[in-house]
Every structure is written in structure tokens, then in C-alpha cells.
Symmetry: C2
Subunit: 406 residues, 2 copies
């Protein structure tokens, strides 16, 4: 797919033409085409209407329980707890992992800002690590070498030798739906007594060695934001195989109110993080369609792969070995020689109503995380300059996919 040697002398327009042509062959003619829009083709209205008809719209209701059961069944993780969004899920994961003020939490610099913010909410400091050029998630081999340098076990706690702070947890993020190297990362966490958390916000429907993601972390977070593979408007969930942690998650997300027919006794500082039943109803209908959505998104990924097979300027990032990705977002990785054209491509596509976007600004470049401890970030920095996320809705490329969604 990538040709070696020197490039022919082309204008930017000429260079971008094959990319645009490949994109257009997948996307059809309807414009604008969203980066990712919801797809409601199941029982969404039935369930939502049922909430309105019965008056059960708030944080206690049958659809919340039903959504949690459906998540458990689909992912195979023993306990699921529905919360108000993916950020809240990550916050709860951090709290239950024991992250406290003064701790450091390892997480990839290539992620959405919520991963780092959840650590900040606990008063802890993100400790930023680089990613693998293959998985786009935390690089297990480089992290192992880095920990060798900076980490030191004292009793059952791992410390950053330089700062003297505990390295309490590692949050791995399954970037664009592609699972990170979970076996190797879990092994590394066991060795260093670091709690593993999976940020699976983008990865509902993604499998690693035939098991759904969320099985490796002590706790994991998923998201049902409007741009995710299934949506509840806003929503998310905490997943865990640990019954006691699941119980604590429930308590912590419901203002730590002790069960009682009328008394309002709360036994710790806690949160109002439970998902309303109205949103859960939408989620139940969406989850019923998840296997179909995953198939359709994998088929779209194949169409992208096929369309870009002959394009010299870049390639579509493929699912890593031993994984089965939900291909939440398809990503074009520009050939190194074409990196300087990334913004021209973004601008041209946007102008044509193809709502592509780059990867996130790297965490170590954001003002509030600029001074966080970190390793060398050369891979993430390279990737960030070369990645372009492509329209990846369930119905992208179907007839009549035009939409007003941005």
C-alpha cells in the first residue's frame, strides 16, 4: 500500500485527489456526511414512550436494570452499573481503584481529555505514556522499559522513584475501538502492583482474544455518548467482575444513601451519577442492535480498506492482531511524506461536507497537563500529525446517509 523511495512532484491538490476519490467511493454522494451519528432502527420509540407513559423517567426504573443486565450478557463482565456519562464512569473507576490526592495514574497521551480529567477529579496527577504505532493504545514494551527506569516497589505499592508519589493505576484506552495489548499490560500491572483500568469508552463491541474488552481491568468504563456505537443521549457504564466493587460503585453513584424506606442517611461524600431511566430505555433498544451495528461497521471498515488499498498517500488503520475491533472510527494514517498535508485534507473534506477530524490534541500539549510527568512521546507525536478520522456511522455509505449532523 505504501510505496517506498522518493515521491513524485505533485501539487497538494493532486496529492489529495486520490484520497478524496477513495473517500467518495465509500461515502456515496449525500452531503454533509457526519463523522458519527446515531442510528435508531429498533425499539427506541417503544421503550422511550413506555417511560413517558408510566412516568418512570428518572434514576430508578426498570430500563436501568435491564440495560445493565444486557451489558453484562453482551460483554461477559459480571457487573455493569449505568451512569450519567463515560466521564462519570471513568471517575468512579479511579475512585474505586483507590486513586487519591498525591497519586500518579499512568495513561496514554493519545486519548480524549476525559481520561486525564477523571484522574484530576481525584486530586491525582496523570502520568502520561506513549502509544504503540500498531494498536494506537499504550505500548506495553515501551511502558515496561519505562517502568524499569522510573518505578520502584515498596511493599505492595509502586512508586515513581523521581517524584516519590505512588503509581496507583494504569488506564489503557482502546483507541477508536481497537483493543490495546491487554495481556501484556495486565501482566505488567501485576508485576508492579498497579491497578489496571480499561477506558473502553469507544470499544463496546470490541474483543481481545475472543473476550470482550473490560475483562482485563479491575474496573472498566464504557460510554453511550451521542457519537458512540450505541447511544443513550448521554450515558456510560462501569464494568467489573468484582462483586464488592460493583456494590461500592452503586453506593458511590447514588449519593451513598443507605437503604431505608424513608430516611436520608448518607455515609460518605458521593455522587449523583446514576443514568436516568429515560436514557436507559434508549440504551436498551440500542443494545439490541449492537451485534448488527458491529457487523455493519466492520463491513464499512472493509470498504475503506478496499478503497484505500491503491492510495499511496496513506492507509486505513487495521485492527491489531488477536483482536476483533468494533471499528468505532475508521482512521486514515497518512504516509510520513504526506503529513504536512493533514490540515489541507481536513479543510478540503470539511468544505465538501465530509466531516473528518484529526486525532485529539495530545494530553502532554494541553496547558493543564503540560507539566505532568511523562515519557518520550515520539510515536504519539508522529501519529497525531498523520491521523485523520473518517465518517464511520452505522449507515455511512448506505443510500441516503446525508444528515445535518456535525
Amino acid at each position: 500500500m505504501l510505496h517506498g523511495g522518493s515521491l513524485p512532484h505533485l501539487t497538494p491538490e493532486e496529492t489529495l485527489a486520490p484520497i478524496l476519490s477513495a473517500l467518495e467511493s465509500v461515502l456515496g454522494s449525500a452531503r454533509p456526511v457526519a463523522l458519527h451519528q446515531p442510528h435508531f432502527a429498533g425499539r427506541e420509540w417503544d421503550y422511550v414512550k413506555d417511560c413517558l407513559d408510566t412516568g418512570w423517567v428518572s434514576s430508578v426504573g426498570a430500563y436501568v436494570t435491564r440495560l445493565e443486565t444486557a451489558l453484562q450478557d453482551y460483554t461477559g463482565v459480571a457487573h455493569a452499573l449505568a451512569v450519567v456519562n463515560g466521564t462519570a464512569a471513568l471517575h468512579v473507576c479511579c475512585l474505586l481503584a483507590g486513586v487519591i490526592a498525591g497519586d500518579e495514574v499512568l495513561l496514554p497521551t493519545l486519548t480524549f481529555v476525559a481520561t486525564a480529567n477523571a484522574v484530576s477529579y481525584c486530586g491525582a496527577t496523570p502520568h502520561l505514556v506513549d502509544v504503540s504505532p500498531v494498536t494506537l493504545g499504550v505500548d506495553a514494551i515501551r511502558l515496561a522499559a519505562y517502568l524499569e527506569d522510573i518505578a520502584e516497589l515498596r511493599g505492595d505499592t509502586c512508586y515513581n522513584r523521581t517524584t516519590g508519589h505512588p503509581l496507583r493505576a494504569l488506564i489503557v484506552m482502546h483507541t477508536f475501538g481497537h483493543p490495546a495489548e491487554l495481556d501484556a499490560l495486565a501482566e505488567l500491572c501485576r508485576r508492579y502492583r498497579i491497578v489496571l483500568i480499561e477506558d473502553a469508552a469507544e470499544a463496546l463491541g470490541s474483543f481481545y482474544r475472543d473476550q470482550h474488552v473490560g475483562q482485563w481491568g479491575l474496573l472498566s468504563a464504557v460510554s453511550f455518548n451521542g457519537n458512540k456505537i450505541v447511544t443513550t443521549g448521554g450515558g456510560g457504564a462501569v464494568l467489573t467482575n468484582d462483586a464488592a466493587l460493583a456494590q461500592r460503585a452503586r453506593h458511590l453513584t447514588t449519593t451513598a444513601k443507605q437503604p431505608h424506606p424513608w430516611a436520608f442517611v448518607h455515609d460518605q461524600v458521593a455522587y449523583n451519577y446514576r443514568l436516568p431511566n429515560l436514557n436507559a430505555a434508549l440504551g436498551c433498544a440500542q443494545l439490541e442492535q449492537l451485534p448488527d451495528f458491529v457487523s455493519r461497521k466492520r463491513a464499512l471498515a472493509q470498504r475503506y480498506q478496499h478503497a484505500f488499498a491503491a492510495v499511496a498517500a496513506g492507509h486505513i488503520v487495521n485492527e491489531p492482531q488477536d483482536t476483533r475491533s468494533n471499528y468505532w472510527l475508521n482512521v486514515l494514517q497518512l504516509h510520513p511524506a504526506y503529513g504536512h498535508l493533514r490540515d489541507a485534507l481536513l479543510e478540503t473534506c470539511q468544505a465538501r461536507g465530509i466531516l473528518v477530524r484529526p486525532a485529539w490534541e495530545l494530553m502532554h500539549r494541553l496547558p493543564m497537563y503540560r507539566d505532568c510527568p511523562r515519557m518520550d512521546m515520539s510515536t504519539a507525536e508522529h501519529l497525531e500529525r498523520h491521523l485523520v478520522c473518517l465518517p464511520s456511522s452505522v449507515d455511512t455509505g448506505s443510500v441516503d446517509t446525508g444528515s445535518e449532523h456535525a
Copy 2:
């Protein structure tokens, strides 16, 4: 209403009988009767279905803006910002009031735990104050005397003389919908350079001196939880007349993402607190009915007043002078001689399907706030033993109000 002198010797059953009889005369025969359940009689279906039909269910959408405009129009407060729940609204109010770690924030001990938790989220300490026997909210005269004792101005900052910590803000809560003494409390805050925040979670539709609550605080919070006068499933809003604060609230609740067609640049640690469009759609339909809901709840309050006029064991708490309450929850205050029967009353009512409840456990009795600085709490302690909240839905006492709602 209250008779003086010694009480006749009655059994608990005999003593409670007139209360139950008065309650039953208001509630009609359908059971169970909820403490507060939503009432959907407007365009809820239309608006929610419109979200599903257009695919706009998430945190960007026309209903969010429309809900905010409707709130501004109804309350007269210049800026409203819809968020994921009332707790999030309070948190944002505290953050924008400049509450930081090490600060103390004055708030009533008689409140729902979210008021205190919002302060904790900022790393600050609740400083608990007593309430007025008339408004059930912060007692302005006693607070003035207390501040005289403990507060000291240094430059433009008020300090707790004992702890040495800044007294950054006062959160007043409009208990059960009855406005606190806003003029006197605002004056006190000006004198001591303390930021005034209104916790109006329960008070949408309540007026103080002909202006809607939320006009006195620099920032105010309202709630659209399932048990509130209008509901979005879960939701809330920040109100402020300060355009710059409104702008900062918007930024802080949307992950502090800088406006850009594609780049993900965030410039501070921030939150994912925006209300989804799906919930906002429900809220728009509900707000259209708010004037009617307030009328019906005020009419219910009159029916309670009338029914309890001849009951010696207690009286219905009336709206304070100079206010027009939404009567979110009607509250029976037991005569001091009957306080020991509160739990028997709660149990008897619950057993009969009348889902009454007491006031909240006082903040200074909860384990996490037990050691917070505080004043003498004799009024709140007395009230807490004597208050019983009564069923107060919009349709309570109408024909066929029975419901499965708890």
C-alpha cells in the same frame, strides 16, 4: 390551630387518627400515593419523538438551547445553562464562585446532601449553619450574630477567625420550595464579602418579593430530577445574571474545549456536565406547563391547610411573608408535644400506601460532615424531629392519582 396547655391522654393511634383523617380527605382513596411523581400532560411525546426522529439526542441540540431560553424567560435571570443534574449545577456554582481547596462554604444543616457534596468536590469544607423556624432556610439574624463572632474581613476576603480559612461563599437553600430571607442574606454577604449562591433545586416557580428566586445569588442552581416540579429525567441548570460567568459555565461544562471546526484543544480541567438533548426535549414540554403546575400545587397546599386547620397535633408549613412558594413539597410540622410520634406516623402512612417521608438527616449528623465547623443547631434539630413531608405531586388528590411510584 395548636392548642396550648396540657394534652388529653390519648393512645398513639388516637393521636394519629385526626392526622390520617385529614390526609385522607385531601388524598382521596387511590393507593399508593407517591410523595412526588412526574406529570406528563403536554407535548412531552412530540418533543422526545422529534429527538429520536432527527437523531439529535446528545449534548448538542436545539432543545437544550430552547430549554435555556425558556428558563431565562420564566425566571427573569439573564443566563441559564442546562446541565446533567442539580448536583452538577451546584458544583459549577461553587467552582465559579471561586471555591477552592481550603475554603469554607456556609450552608444550612437542613438540606439534601448534594449541597454539601458540591462543596466537597471543590476540596472545600462545608461550614454548617442553623435555619429559621419560619422559612426553614438559613436564618439571617442568627447568621449575622454568628458571623459577628467568628468572621473577620482581611482586605476583600472574609476569614473564619478560628480556623483561619476563607469563608468564600454562602449557599442558601429554598427548603421544600419556600424562599429563604434573600434580602437580608444578600445584605449580609455584601457586608462580609461572601459570595451568595442560591440552591434553588426545589424552588423553580417560587418568588421572593415578586421576583423569581435565582436573582439574589451570584449563581444559582435548579434541578429537574424526577421528583421535582418539572423533570427531565435527570437534569438541572445554572442561573446567573453575569454574562462572563455564564460563558465560563458553558466552557466548564463542555470539557473546556476551545471552539474549532475539528481540533480538540481543552484549556483547563473541566467537566462533561451538559444536559443531553433528549432530556432537554422533555424539559421543554414540562416548562410549558410550569405555571399550571405551580397553580395546582398551590391549590393542593390550600387543601392541606384547610384539612389540617382543626388538627391539634400539627400544622402545615406556610410560605414565608413576602414570598410566593411553589409548594414543591407540603410539610406537616408536628406540635412539640407530638414529636415522639413522628416515626409512628411515618410507619402508619407508609403501611397505608401514603408515601410520606421525614426531612433529610441533618448534615452535621452525617459521618463525613460530623466534624465540620458549625454553629448551634437547635432549630434544625427541633424541626428535623417534627417535620413530615406529604404527597405533593401536581395531580395529588385528583381522581385516580394512584400510582406505582415510590
